[in-house]
Amino acid sequence: MVQLSPTPTPAPARLSHLQRLEAESIHILREVAAESANPVMLYSIGKDSAVMLHLAVKAFYPARPPFPLLHIDTGWKFRDMIAFRDRMAADLDFRLIVHTNSAGAARGINPFDHGSSLYTAIMKTEALKEALSLHGFDAAFGGARRDEEKSRAKERIFSFRSASHAWDPKTQRPELWNLYNTRVRPGESIRVFPLSNWTELDIWQYIQAERIPIVPLYYAAERPVVWRDGQMIMVDDARLPLSPGEVPELRKVRFRTLGCYPLTAAVDSDADTLEAIVAEMRVARTSERAGRLIDHDEAASMEKKKREGYF
């Protein structure tokens, strides 16, 4: 943990945009901790989760954040992600809950044989709802940002969910000032998005400024990849089916976004430092979700998933 510095730091004349975003996120984290009976932080191991976790540590300093971390493990995360997750939870002394839809796993649900839609519904959405109900969490932090996708742009910071975890864009509560209505009845819950107003570039600048640890997959390195539908998929383990004669090719790649490995595409890059990543971001001409295969499933796909209970 951070030690109090001996000499107080003078206040800057005006807050930078990162400082204002940080303050807003901390306010949101504290508000939930104070008002919700049983909050949890969804930890997906990616860069947004890394920032959210870092903000949680700052929000409650010198105390520890008063909630556990929940990771929905589909069984198809990159091996580097799982190792990183366990290291972070241990380093920061968080209680980590890992939940897998065991019924889905027992049926062998996977993205290759069942398609990304069904796989996502069962191993992510259903698993998440199952875990929230099992532990009785009435508030769950998620790292979603409004700049990611069009239906996200309209989501509240405090997103109310019915007892069946459904999101109805028409019954969302008006959200004025920083006065958040956190009240729920038994069984109902809220999803809370402290990073709503951050952009992808903000995230990277903040990671750089605060030196926040991130999964090594974000840094460019030689990795074995194969081509699927015009996207580069990394061969993380032997479960990725290869066509007869297909040989993974070694390329210098990195990931802008991390999900399940067969559903997340890599990009060519030489950016192997934070500085290089931020520089690459500044001139990037595609959005990060271009590398997320599940978003292309159908028109308005994110909105549909959210209505069903996806984050």
Partner: protein, 634 residues
Amino acid sequence: MRAAPSPDLVASDTKGLLRFLTCGSVDDGKSTLIGRLLYDTKLLLDDQVAALARDSKKFGTAGDDLDFALLVDGLAAEREQGITIDVAYRFFATERRKFIVADTPGHEQYTRNMATGASNSDLAILLVDARHGLLPQTRRHSFIVSLLGIRHVVLAVNKIDLVDFSQATFDAIVADYRAMAAGLGFETVHALPLSARHGDNVLAPSPRTPWYDGPGLLPYLEEIEVDRAESAPFRMPVQWVNRPNLDFRGFSGSIVGGRVQPGDRIVVARTGHVSRVKSIVTADGELAEAGAGQAVTLTLEDEIDVSRGDLLAAADARPELADQFAAHVIWMHEDPLAPGRPLLLKIGTRTVGASINAVRNRIDIDSFAPQPARSLALNEVGEVHIGLRDAVPFDPYASCQGTGAFILIDRHTNQTVGAGMVRAGLRRATNIHWQDLKVSKTARAALNHQKPVVLWFTGLSGAGKSTIATLVEKKLHAASRHTYVLDGDNVRHGLNKDLGFTDADRVENIRRVAEVAKLFADAGLIVIVSFISPFRTERGFARDLLGPREFVEIYVDTPIEVAEARDAKGLYRKAREGLIKNFTGIDSAYEPPLAPELRLSGGTRSAEDLADEVIAYLGENGYLERAEDLDWTI
């Protein structure tokens, strides 16, 4: 994690943040403008442009061009119906500033959505179609923007290309707007001619409007200074008590007004406890100073009672404290606001039981004029009087948004049903602060097992006021209620013996009576006031002083012929003979109440019957319930 802010955070200090909203109907080109800003600042990425080109062909209204409006109309229902149904947030940045744009729709739900977008904005861009000039909705949007406290407006006269870049058209619209917005309290109104579709005056001044000598829209937005919370006195609602171990006790919260340094004297507004700031703790180390917008943790020199919901404030510039206030409310629910409905009010970090005591008016957002009203429907704005279960500290919204804004929550459905802005506290002297713990009115009334109220009898001399008042007191006394009568006999001969019967003295007479009645009510008594009190203004003063739930106006409506025929004290005869001047009903006016809580037909029924009528009214309206039976709990 490090012990001090990194150079990068400090270096990016020059890059501030501006939050603004855009107002105007779909046809005014609002979404097109936002799309244009994203496009011109290179924030649109290749795959987004590709998606936009695809969507433009399918849904677009801009021919073969990119339809920027599709970028911001996000939900499936909206794309199908071609309307925007909610507030969407968009982000873009230049080297100088990051921008957060609240895009709010222009159709019927606009009040609610605009208020939502405006509540977190520092500036509003009002779009006007150059072909149509000001529309009724331009007035409405300006009013809502003003109501929410936005002080900086950009009047964007859009589609200037469609009026041949006419300076005369532009000047006429700007002159109209300045005249219309004169009373709305904007600090800056910057007007510029614009073509969102073609980009004129967006990034840089357009050669096609050489007569416009100001900056482009984006450079203007990069430069304008909007900070204001810093100038307010220090205010921090406590969110969370930080107590990791027995050696550390800090109070975490976001500063909403002013600045604070170690050593500053602060007060816990609810209790009046004063202490000094010991340190400003953050994970980046202790700070020498912090200001509005920062999330910090304060430790204090003294071990005093502070909990979530408390407000820490500068000890030499304290907030007001009241359990009733007058406020503007925007009603956001389909069921109209009804006085008396049990609500929760969240102000700062405090949530407290509340009810609307009275709707004072509804504001016509076309004329900005208050209109008489008894309720507020969805999307209507009006002034209400709100009663709270406990006194809460606050500032008028105009002084400090963070301590003057509130939301209203339905107790049963948990829906957010309204949003409000405190105008002023009621009843309590606003600059007298609690000195530590005091016995409250509620506590005193509870000890008496009753609800304090002032029964204000008004009517002509000889109308029967005192006779009825005396009977009412006897009946209440018999029912073990603690009462006191204020009338001419016990006030005119003592407290007010320096006053005569001129209009000025009558006004002062009633002012003193009202103040005494308030003190007695504060003591927990049922106060019975029996004065002619001929002027509406003075009775209105008493009503405002006491608040609507504690002021019951009883008009003893006896015809002057009946009163004069009784003439128990021989006063009418003397007045007719000219021996008494300024006698009400003879040579001085009596202004009958327009909407008394109770009207008694004097002269037709006995005083005994009329007294029973008063008792019945009190019973029916909950004044005779035992205080401990009242449902004031959350």
